[in-house]
Subunit: 314 residues, 2 copies
């Protein structure tokens, strides 16, 4: 095969990013378009194909091996997006691969965004050369991709790797999935904000987070913690404890060499990960102690999703 | 390769079982010897080789492709047994594969007993044809073997699959591993007996389990439950609830087609699994509901370990 380029498409709830990537992970062309504004997925696919046409023409269609797509709830086996609450099109199963294969006239592969991130880290990022690691995305939700024996664990139905929905606190806080106590309800960018709002109500502690508390974000909590705000620091300690405890339970299953973090909340760095590490190790089964590296993604934020999606092609 | 036989060796704390198995899973010869009575592992290996010699001679050494060994804490990558508290030889790392390869003069492969059981089920048992399943052994402890993409998940260090040491009850009962609340402390044959003894002390309920309570076993609890003893039935309900809840958290990670149970406590059948199923499904993330089969091993108890170990060779 002489084709040296791949198209990577990352479909988010608001925007779709795309890029043409060579085998070494350099993005030769890229752009974004809104995901919203198309009442049907067919309309969206037509608009996407039209937007991509000049890029593909310039790269030379004969040089492009195929397209990889990362999307929430994207299923690798069926090529469908299933029950994705954050995407604008309704329907139980959206046949994205089928539609895009026709519209772009090239082979397409789909997986969820966290699995795409894992493939990206394994191909171009901090997990290069690792056969066993876990990718954890700490964004609006908590996503994950598990790699064992050098392969993504898709599970028998393509839906494996839902770390965000492990129960971190039995009978705990309501999660968007309808159950209680999921990791995602505590350790996502959304989760830490919920904890902050609860604490601000329950406590009298002085905190800069009280200003405009209604529009609080994980980013603002991070800035407050950097500035030494006690409540903000404690929020990272609490969030890190829950994440660390839960990761100790994950390690016993797949024994990864590393856990690689990506996403908004991961930018907090040691503010968060010092606590994650402490509580993971405190709760770790002896044979795994001090063996599992905690790392953050080495891919540039803006490109990681495109790189990950494009790497599905190889 | 014309070799059609494999040697399977299962090393337990008390006895070592061995057998010569053909590719279709028929045991053509087998036997047992005590694991104990040899102060050093070298002495044990010499005795084992001497015991095996006539069997190997009769089968024809040229027909035997190699030996597979299942042992507690056996490591597939290093060929060593590490920190196995139930085996008679001390030492951090026992180089079993090295010793046996020399003594038997054939290639040897080692893994832990639960992984060997998973390989056995995949090769000859109820998991034939499955690429993604979980093997759970409910014996003195709780062991497990995870299969994804048709391969055992060994993890980067060979120690993956320690389901028994997932925390089932945060800050719960002490486990032999020195931590609190492990699944094994509740849902093993040992765990259900501990629960029974606790309840007998705390409650006044009439129960046949009060007779000779000091020598209570999981088997007696099962017999009492079959006979309708209320406390015994409730013990299975409680044990099944904890196991079911925890399995719901396992499913989100590897999304298995089935969970296959083996070992003493698995003989309780629906007494236990009706509750496991109910609580697993009650706690299951929507996309996995009613998809994961709970099965029990189809291999005869006495032979399963030998079959599993021998299947490592192929």
């Amino acid at each position: 095969m002489t084709q040296r380029l791949a198209l990577g498409i990352d479909i988010g709830g608001t925007n779709t990013s795309y890029g043409i990537v060579d085998r070494r992970g350099s993005i030769v062309a890229k752009g974004t378009m809104p995901t919203t504004g198309h009442p049907t997925v067919e309309g969206y696919v037509t608009a996407l194909a039209a937007t991509l046409a000049p890029l593909l023409e310039e790269a030379g269609p004969e040089n492009i091996a195929g397209a990889g797509i990362g999307a929430p709830n994207g299923n690798f086996f069926t090529g469908e997006i299933l029950f994705a609450p954050n995407l604008p099109w309704k329907g139980v199963a959206i046949p994205l691969v089928k539609l895009l294969t026709t519209a772009l006239n090239m082979p397409c592969k789909l997986t969820n965004d966290a699995n795409a991130a894992a493939v990206g880290e394994m191909t171009y990022g901090t997990a290069r050369g690792m056969n066993d690691f876990v990718m954890v995305t700490l964004g609006t939700g908590v996503g994950s991709g598990f790699v064992a024996n050098g392969q993504i664990i898709y599970g028998h139905d393509g839906f494996a790797g839902e770390l965000g929905h492990m129960i971190a606190v039995r009978d705990g806080r309501m999660c968007g999935c309808g159950r209680r106590g999921c990791l995602e309800a505590y350790c996502s960018a959304t989760g830490i904000v919920i904890t902050a709002k609860e604490w601000l109500k329950q406590r009298d502690t002085q905190s800069v987070l009280r200003d405009n508390a209604d529009t609080l974000t994980a980013r603002r909590i991070q800035e407050a913690a950097v500035a030494g705000d006690t409540l903000a620091l404690e929020l990272f300690a609490y969030t890190g404890k829950i994440l660390g405890q839960t990761l100790a339970d994950v390690v016993v299953i797949t024994s990864p060499e590393a856990i690689v973090f990506f996403g908004g909340l991961a930018h907090a760095g040691e503010l968060l990960f010092a606590h994650v590490r402490k509580h993971m190790e405190d709760n770790m089964l002896n044979i795994f102690k001090n063996k599992v590296a905690l790392k953050t993604s080495s891919l540039p934020d803006a490109d990681a999703a495109i790189l990950g999606a494009s790497a599905l092609v190889w």
